[in-house]
């Protein structure tokens, strides 16, 4: 209790330094939160696209149902297929009508006859898309093969880039946070060096001297993290309606409160670690 009081007194006596330390920690953890949202979101988006029909084969009008069933069965036997769905001409028309329900002119012009039947196929692995696509193309009943390899691979590249940039930014900000906290706490330690020396000579253990500074580091880390998390989460909640219309159909939003609380907990653990490292380094040379 006494140690907590000492730490709080130290913080209160230098409010601007405390604000600086909290602010830099807030920036660090705001960035961590934002990049976590991006990494988590892009992973969900990729999963969504991966689970969607990735190869669509459109059949010629002369293709019989038995030919299509045979082709479907052959593909299943390869063991590379996770999902396969037949879309008849009628179903294709329903989908078309649903997609263009606000445009009667487009609806009038189209009948089931002019729309092709198709097979929507998902593969277990993204790299099997090419093989499946080639197999479909070689079939005499298939008129056209469309697959989303490019979308998924582009998204994968983006996610990798976000992870890389995120990690670089977070590591840099974490280092900056440690140095700034070291500077703030180091300044206070230097102001109290006479007191530290006296306490050491009066038989204080290193832990007794170190603990209030460590608590101070934990305080800056904890408050900064909480504020960073609040700002990032509030931003996400504010943007949710816009993002929902942009990411229509992808089961990402609204983000689960459990995910947000889990993120806060993980960030608090990191912040406490950063606070302890920074304050221990700041006080180290006075305890040798």
């Amino acid at each position: 209790m006494k140690t907590i009081k000492t730490s709080w007194k130290q913080i209160r006596r230098t409010p601007y330094q405390a604000l600086t330390a909290v602010f830099i920690m807030m920036l660090t953890f705001l960035s961590i939160s934002v990049f976590s949202f991006l990494v988590f979101g892009s992973s969900v988006v990729i999963k969504y696209f991966e689970s969607k029909p990735q190869v669509t084969a459109f059949f010629k009008d002369e293709a019989k149902q038995s030919d299509i069933d045979q082709l479907s069965s052959n593909l299943k036997q390869t063991g590379k297929i996770s999902k396969i769905r037949y879309v008849s001409k009628q179903e294709a028309l329903q989908i078309y009508k649903e997609q263009n329900k606000n445009d009667p002119l487009l609806l009038d012009l189209v009948t089931a006859d002019i729309l092709p039947a198709s097979l929507e196929i998902s593969t277990e692995k993204i790299e099997d898309l090419g093989t499946v696509s080639d197999a479909l193309k070689s079939s005499p009943y298939v008129s056209e093969v469309v697959y989303q390899k490019d979308i998924v691979s582009t998204l994968s590249k983006w996610t990798t880039a976000i992870r890389l940039i995120g990690t670089t930014v977070i590591v840099t900000l974490a280092l900056v946070s440690i140095f700034i906290m070291m500077m703030v706490i180091g300044f206070k330690v230097s102001q109290k060096r006479d007191e530290i020396e006296i306490m050491r000579l009066l038989s204080a253990t290193n832990w007794y001297i170190r603990t209030p500074f460590m608590l101070e580091g934990i305080f800056y880390g904890g408050i900064g993290t909480f504020l960073g998390w609040i700002v990032a989460s509030a931003g996400l909640l504010y943007a949710t309606p816009y993002l929902e219309s942009f990411l229509k159909g992808i089961p990402l939003l609204p983000v689960s409160p459990i995910f947000l609380l889990g993120l806060l907990l993980a960030e608090l653990i990191i912040a406490i670690g950063l606070g302890i490292i920074a304050s221990s380094l700041a006080v180290l040379r006075y305890l040798k």
Partner: protein, 233 residues
């Protein structure tokens, strides 16, 4: 109680603070440590409290082998030695009461017992009425008493007093010496570093003389040894 064997302390600059110093102090002794400035008195105290390590030689304080003492035991050693520093080392932003409480506080002593102990020490050194004042509000003699009070917090077996009368007038100096003598009579071993020849000459105590880091004289050592032999017999 205190045994220094061939102690030499030299600094990286090449200056030698203590040169092959050997002496021992028995439990309950009152010893004056005299010598001009720079003779090594303060260095000797810093070695005894393990604030410094000697370049060579050995130091034993009771059961403690100071040179080979594990760092984690240093706080325990310092609890058994009360030090009155030359510059007092009282914290300016704490009251006299808080300053005396500090060693008990850093050792996580029971709060009630610690407060009781502080009141008792304040009475012993005669500054109970100044307990709520800050160091800046006290006279030289009162500050010196406060420093003595803090050194007494743990009822140490040894007190090292570094120039406790250095900046005091004659009357106050004698009051401080009287106080130290009273503490000594209660069984505490006292080593007092001083320049004050009047005090040293007036009291019939053992005197160790240091000059340029060397022990040049240990007056009454012979008498002490004789006393020890008689005691042993």
């Amino acid at each position: 109680m205190i045994r220094l064997q061939n102690i030499t302390k030299s600094y990286p600059t090449g200056s030698i603070a203590l040169d092959d110093v050997t002496f021992s102090v028995d439990k309950g002794e009152f010893v004056f440590l005299v010598g001009p400035s720079g003779s090594g008195k303060t260095t000797l105290f810093r070695l005894i409290t393990r604030d410094l390590l000697p370049s060579s030689g050995s130091i034993h304080i009771g059961q403690w082998d100071i040179v080979n003492l594990n760092k984690k035991h240093i706080p325990h050693l310092r609890k058994s030695i009360g030090v009155i520093f030359q510059d007092l080392k009282l914290l300016k932003d704490r009251t006299i009461h808080e300053n005396i409480l500090l060693p008990l506080e850093v050792n996580k002593a029971d709060k009630e017992a610690a407060l009781q102990r502080v009141e008792q020490i304040l009475e012993t050194v005669g500054i109970a009425e100044h307990k709520d004042k800050f160091p800046i509000q006290l006279s030289g003699g009162e500050l010196q008493r406060a420093a003595i009070a803090r050194a007494l917090a743990f009822s140490p077996e040894i007190i090292l007093a570094d120039e406790p009368t250095g900046n005091l007038d004659t009357t106050t100096s004698w009051e401080i010496v009287k106080l130290l003598q009273d503490i000594n009579k209660a069984g505490t071993t006292i080593i007092m570093a001083t320049h004050n020849t009047d005090i040293v000459n007036s009291l019939s105590k053992r005197v160790i003389v240091l000059e340029k880091g060397k022990l040049v004289d240990d007056k009454k050592k012979a008498e002490t040894e004789k006393h020890q032999k008689e005691k042993a017999a």
